[in-house]
Amino acid sequence: MVLEFLSYQFGVRALTGGLIVAVTCSSLGVFLVLRRLSLVADGLSHVAFGGIAFGLFTGIYPLYTAVVGVILGALGIHALGKLRVASDAAIAIMFAAGLAIGIILISITQNVAVDVLSFLFGTILGINQTDIYLAAGLGVIVVGILLLFWKEWVGITIDAEFARVSGLPVPALELVFTILTGLTVVVAMRLVGVLLVSSLIVIPASAMIQLKMPFRRTVLSACGVAVFSVVAGLQLSFMYNLAPGGSIVLVTICFFSLAAVVARVFPKIPKKPASGSWQHQCDR
């Protein structure tokens, strides 16, 4: 039966959480991929791992400490950028720092192996009501800020230099954007796990960018791909008893491959203008 998992309470929770994650990750993903910052999500997911380990160590709910961890990680990446450290090196440094802190804290905390595995590989079918509320809250914040500053994000994505000359506060916007990426990572982590979290951000966006659509349509279609991938991944996981996180990511990869084939077999041919010179209309 199609979507049979919805007859179970855990299945409804999984789908709800999955849809929140799909929309949040994919809408942010287009901006990240175009700005060549796909690795930021990966770096911050490992910083979040350090935050989770801190939560397990102190007994605080791990997703709360992960939120604090990613915000500190985002500030760290930004601060390293100010010290003229190259952006990929800054991400790698924070990535390593987060992982190192996580490993040390876990090694000195007793009986957390199962919890750690659930965060590393994701447990979408085991998410509870608190996870849903946290994901919904963070998702609303991320998508809300994304929509509120839509033209500013488009501006710094198209041409950050021009945006600065136009007077947009580009460094502040970039910091906010990195924090939003970190929050998105936390939202997605419970679903697909630390190790696959960046895939939901990067793959739907990369798939749709290949189809050469206008900006808004690219973001909307990436959301569509992510939503469909979550539903199809959960169904496949339920039908064949597969790991849900991995199934969702594999569906997104199928979409990416399909889009790659479509883009090459049916390339979009640009129209050529009948005339294309300046009109020199004077109104001064």
């Binding site: 033209k151 500013e152 947009l168 203008p273 300046w278 009109q279």
Partner: protein
């Protein structure tokens, strides 16, 4: 030495004793110059002479290590703002959008020119949409406005970037090597456009050019840079050969 301005000349941009270095490597040494309103200025010099750095300082992308830069614009919204953003339209040399597969249409690129003036949070209104429509029509981009920017020809891309810089109605337009990757016909159209903007719309034009014969033919004033200003004067005083000699001498001294 600070720049002194001859009486009666309307100066819109002044640099006094500007120094800039990337780490230990000094790129600009004690550069002082002033740009007068409605001038058509070409900035030239060998590779690494500091041309792009100078332009980035002029448009506010970089802050000088030492020295001052000041704008005098006679529109209300510019008062007290340095650099006076609404006054300057900028055409960067090689923006990220020139890459293949960047899903942005020509119209979306031109729309970006209105973002700074609209302000944070606010969406484009009817006036800004009309300004974009006009800029697109003036740039002859009506037929391709919904095409991806990366699918346009080099000349069309250049016109799109200039339309974006002009949509906010700036008093100064700064162009960083605008004729790179543009074919001969588009280049002629470009110079015609620049002359038109300068003479008819009375926009001050600053542009970095590598092509010395073009520089001699199409600009009124040449600033030749080799970390410091080596020549600053009318292009009519120098034929293309003279500029070449300057460039060769500058190259030898580095």
């Amino acid at each position: 030495m600070p720049v002194t301005h001859p009486e009666g000349e309307q100066v819109c941009l002044t640099l006094n004793n500007v120094w800039f270095a990337y780490g230990a490597s000094t790129v600009l040494e004690d550069v002082s110059l002033s740009i007068r309103q409605e001038e058509l200025v070409g900035i030239a010099g060998p590779n690494g002479s500091g041309k792009s750095t100078l332009m980035k300082i002029m448009v506010g992308l970089l802050k000088p290590d030492k020295g001052t830069i000041s704008f005098t614009c006679h529109i209300d919204e510019c008062e007290g703002i340095t650099p006076c953003r609404p006054c300057i339209g900028y055409v960067p040399q090689n923006p990220l959008i020139r890459q293949e597969q960047f899903p942005v249409t020509a119209r979306e690129v031109v729309e970006m020119g209105t973002f700074g003036q609209i302000g944070l949070f606010r969406r484009m209104n009817a006036d800004s949409r009309r300004a974009v429509d006009n800029a697109i029509t003036e740039a002859g981009l009506d037929n391709v406005q919904h095409e991806l920017f990366s699918d346009l020809s080099g000349g069309q891309q250049q016109r799109t970037l200039i339309a974006r810089a002009l949509v906010g109605r700036p008093h100064i337009i700064a162009l960083d090597e605008p004729t790179n990757g543009v074919d001969a016909q588009s280049k002629q159209e470009f110079y015609k456009l620049i002359t038109h903007l300068n003479k008819v719309h009375r926009i001050t034009v600053l542009m970095i050019l590598h092509d010395l014969p073009d520089l001699a033919a199409h600009v009124e004033r040449v600033i030749f840079l080799q970390r410091k200003v080596i020549y600053d004067g009318p292009s009519s005083n120098l034929n293309a050969e003279g500029l070449w000699n300057l460039m060769i001498e500058a190259g030898r001294s580095t």
